[in-house]
């Protein structure tokens, strides 16, 4: 079976879902179910008695078949991210951690230096580290070197819906990486998730596109199918685009005829 391998885990679905921005927990759980995803990312938040229904751990555990990948969003430094990872592992029992460090609250771009430092520490502690990063091929290799389980370069800024604006860089990262490359952030439509898979990504992570859709359940299902289609196409071997126009005077006349 063509499963997604992350550390010792194997997943049949290559769609990972985020859990933010949904209008209700119920809607979110329905979307998760409809998508077929088996890996879901959650954030840490202070307990608030008045918002007890927002707790996800209970409902997600009850759902079955879902592995949690806690993220460190809110952390602005490596130290904070490491702390969040420790607490998350304690709470979830899951070894996965999405290292997400975005100090600027407007554009939410990840900090490469703090991210590298956090990953170095957490990988050394045995976490399955999945860093969220700008689409930088050198940073990707450095993170692979410190023991990350995957690389999660952004397609475009979180929630911007600008799609695969980093496609050129993604292709380089995919070509050079020995660990799974998972596009995270900025995907707006299922076609973009499909395109990412056709490019050679091992999985995609989607949040806003599903959460803010008119019908999140249907959108989640569509994303699930798009990811599957893209993966199949990649396996099947996509036709090359045809080359550029022929030069005015022949370039190969020096070779003579056949």
């Amino acid at each position: 079976m063509d499963s997604l391998k992350l550390g010792p885990y194997e997943f049949s679905s290559r769609l990972i879902l985020g859990t933010g921005k949904f209008s209700s927990t119920r809607r979110m759980l329905d979307a998760i179910k409809a998508s077929g995803t088996q890996l879901v990312t959650v954030a840490l938040r202070r307990f608030n008695r008045e918002q007890a229904e927002d707790d996800l751990l209970g409902p997600l555990s009850e759902m079955g078949g879902i592995t949690l990948m806690p993220n460190t969003s809110g952390a602005a430094t490596a130290k904070e991210a490491v702390r969040a990872a420790h607490i998350s592992r304690e709470l979830s029992g899951s070894p996965f951690v999405k290292v997400e460090i975005h100090p600027n609250p407007h554009h939410l771009m990840p900090d490469p230096i703090e991210t590298w430092e956090a990953c170095r520490i957490l990988a050394g502690e045995g976490f399955l580290v999945m860093p969220y990063i700008p689409a930088d091929p050198v940073l990707a290799r450095r993170l692979e070197e410190v023991g990350c389980t995957s690389i999660m370069p952004l397609g475009s800024a979180i929630g911007s819906g600008q799609g695969l604006s980093t496609a050129g860089m993604l292709k380089i990262i995919i070509r050079e990486s020995s660990i799974p490359v998972i596009v995270d952030a900025g995907l707006r439509a299922p076609s973009e998730a499909c395109a990412a898979m056709e490019m050679g990504c091992e999985a995609v992570l989607v949040n806003s596109a599903v959460a803010v859709a008119g019908d999140p359940m249907a959108m989640a299902s569509a994303f699930g199918e798009a990811v599957l289609a893209g993966r199949r196409a990649w396996h099947a071997g996509i036709m090359q685009k045809s080359g550029s126009a022929v030069a005015t005077s022949p370039l190969t006349s020096f070779l003579g005829t056949d």
Partner: protein, 357 residues
């Protein structure tokens, strides 16, 4: 390691290039040429970087069926002494060369590691760039060369077909297919910055060889992400000894292979030597080829004392002087570059150092 590495037979690693190698009509070759030219222009501009080989010694312990220096050939053997090396280098510098490739045969008592390292030291004093094409070495030996100023290693697998390889390498240390295959990796681990690889075209079925080279390049790039990889296209030519290649490669196929490589590997240096004719070299410059040797002497001592230089490893087809060749390139609106690098950057690639706290 006793079994062939997975990358060698991984079709996925070369799947995009395979269809481009299928012999088609002239129109398809022209299209490939145009695309290769466009990519070369975008990525390399109009630059062709130039280097020259310096044969240090033709002592050899191996029995390669196809080589003029094989140990059963009657050619007189000699090696350059260090004062001669200096003279050769001075003669090369006088014609503008700034990038030298030092060559020896397989490891022998007469021309072993210590001799080679001292030759690198000598060359690095006067040449901004010093590469070596010699025998497979250990990681520690490569580190030694890197510390002496060697920035590149060229090592051809000759053929990626293990059975054919065994037949062609009749005796000597070169018989070990896997040891040779792993050599580029040992060089990179030793801190050498660039590695040049290739198959000796003519020895085995050429499409298979081409795909194996592509897989090799991509495997190396993926595993050693800071490395520079280049590919050469040595083709069996007539030489003293008369080996007849079993799979001769014609100009059209070689051109197609180079175009396909440029299209599939847009940022790898593709190298052509003076084994090839002036017509072929001039035609291919800018259509994918980004690096060439010039004014080559493939005899030992050939630069400063050509009359007494003895027999050659292969026949040089392009005998033009450096000046003539550069004019030819300029007439095609290409710019020959002799020095592309400052020796201040020539140390070995260091192991990772932790960032400052």
């Amino acid at each position: 390691m006793n079994s062939l590495p997975a990358w060698l037979t991984d079709r996925r690693l070369s799947a995009d290039i395979a269809p481009l190698l299928v012999q088609g009509d002239g129109a398809s070759l022209e299209r490939l040429a145009a695309e290769a030219q466009a990519i070369t222009l975008r990525r390399f501009g109009r630059i062709v970087s130039l280097y020259a080989p310096l044969y240090l010694s033709n002592f050899c312990s191996s029995g390669c069926a196809y080589c003029g220096f094989a140990s059963d050939r009657k050619t007189p053997r000699r090696r350059l002494e260090f004062d001669e090396i200096e003279k050769e280098l001075a003669a090369m510098k006088a014609i503008g060369i700034g990038d030298v490739l030092l060559l020896t045969g397989e490891r022998t008592g007469n021309a072993g590691f210590d001799y080679l390292r001292r030759a690198v030291d000598t060359a690095a004093k006067v040449m901004p760039r010093v590469a070596v094409e010699a025998f497979p070495m250990t990681v520690a030996e490569y580190r030694g060369l890197a510390e002496s100023g060697c920035t590149g290693i060229t090592i051809y697998q000759e053929t990626y077909d293990p059975d054919n390889y065994r037949e062609l390498h009749r005796w000597g240390p070169k018989r070990d297919f896997l040891e040779r295959l792993e050599t580029p990796e040992r060089a990179l681990q030793g801190g050498i910055r660039t590695v040049g690889i290739g198959a000796l075209l003519g020895l085995s079925e050429p499409v298979g060889e081409a795909l194996a080279v592509v897989r090799h390049v991509r495997h190396l790039c993926r595993t050693y992400w800071k490395a520079g990889i280049s590919v050469s296209f040595p083709r069996i030519r007539p030489q003293d000894g008369g080996y007849q290649p079993s799979h001769p490669v014609d100009d059209r196929f070689l051109a197609r292979m180079i175009f396909a490589f440029r299209i599939g590997m847009p940022d790898v240096d593709l190298v052509l030597s003076t084994r090839e004719s002036p017509r072929f070299r001039d035609g291919m410059a800018g259509l994918g080829i980004t690096r060439m040797s010039i004014a080559s002497r493939t005899t030992v001592g050939g630069y400063h004392d050509p009359e007494n230089a003895g027999t050659s490893q292969f026949e040089v087809s392009d005998n033009r002087s450096a000046q003539e060749f550069c004019s030819a390139l300029r007439s095609k609106e290409l710019e020959p570059v002799f020095k592309n690098w400052d020796p201040a950057y020539n140390g070995p690639i260091c192991k990772e150092v932790a960032p400052c706290p």
